[in-house]
Symmetry: C6
Subunit: 76 residues, 6 copies
């Protein structure tokens, strides 16, 4: 993957930071399985599996820790 997709961790709002955390989480999957067709096939299965959804939320939470710290928690 030679495309540029991440140039900064700084976001305007906490919500944009949370959405960046989601992007980071998905990129982590995509670097391991770059075949989009496979990812599409897997999606419907795990999106109906409560355990898998919780695990996905956990990865987002870990990445959100990083993004929030980078933004000094968007404190004024």
């Amino acid at each position: 993957m030679s495309d540029v997709w991440l140039t900064t961790l700084i976001t305007d709002t906490p919500q944009a930071g949370f959405e960046l955390a989601i992007t980071l989480s998905r990129r982590g999957v995509k670097y391991t399985q770059p075949d989009v067709a496979v990812l599409k096939r897997l999606r419907p299965v795990y999106a109906e599996d409560a355990e898998a959804l919780t695990a996905a939320s956990q990865v987002i939470a870990i990445n959100f820790q990083t993004v929030a710290a980078a933004n000094n928690y968007w404190r004024k």
Copy 2:
């Protein structure tokens, strides 16, 4: 999801911070599975599964770390 749901990580009390951590955890799930009908169907199953409940509590704990740091742990 274009609605605004997260404008600040700052809360008045630790308990409100804990409840924000729960919101973050649920949003992490919702971004992955936006279909509310599916989420409602999954809920009764995993809410009776001890392992799933512990996993949910873990995601909350990770998000609470972020919120607590943002609030400088509500120290006076």
Copy 3:
């Protein structure tokens, strides 16, 4: 749950901090499954499951990180 159960992360001793971490972990479960009767039914099952006990200990460890940082690690 409108009751007030968390007003501060500050504790007198590390042990009281560890016990607060346990409270946080249990509250994380309770917010997801508020029905105490269900929780009571689940308890004997997972309390005899080594994997579930380790997972519970992990959530406590994560919450203890937060409480310990809040208390500046109870350094004199």
Copy 4:
């Protein structure tokens, strides 16, 4: 459990800190399952299960983060 088992997170050496992290991890289990007879029964099973051993090591690693930070990483 009203006994006093944790009065400080400060240790003389990193190794003593690692051993304190093990104590914290075991206490996390014990607060959830206080019956020592049950714990003894579970022990031989999970001590031969690679996945359970890795999970135990993970809890120790998380608690070691806390203890190491408390001790300022035992830097001179």
Copy 5:
């Protein structure tokens, strides 16, 4: 493994930092299972398993926390 593969955690951009986090995650696997033939055999299996992909993304997220902190979050 006596080869030198990690001389610094500093990277020019967040994306290069994310890719270093991937390298760290893979090295963690490789130190445990150094036999490349085995790793190659395992790859197609877990690259089609949603749970395994999420777990891989989680390890990357944890390593990215370290790399991002090392780089002071690439703040200007």
Copy 6:
């Protein structure tokens, strides 16, 4: 285990720090299962299990966070 195996978290290079993180991860297992014969028996099984390898890499990542912080990320 009364032998001295950990006297400092400081290492010359990030790679030596990563290898110390591996040592910490293995010690976490060994304190739980001190019988080397059992560990040797388990090794071939989990070293061929992708999920177990990812879990091992995760524990290393957590311990590497600690070691990297201790070394101030080997910044010059």
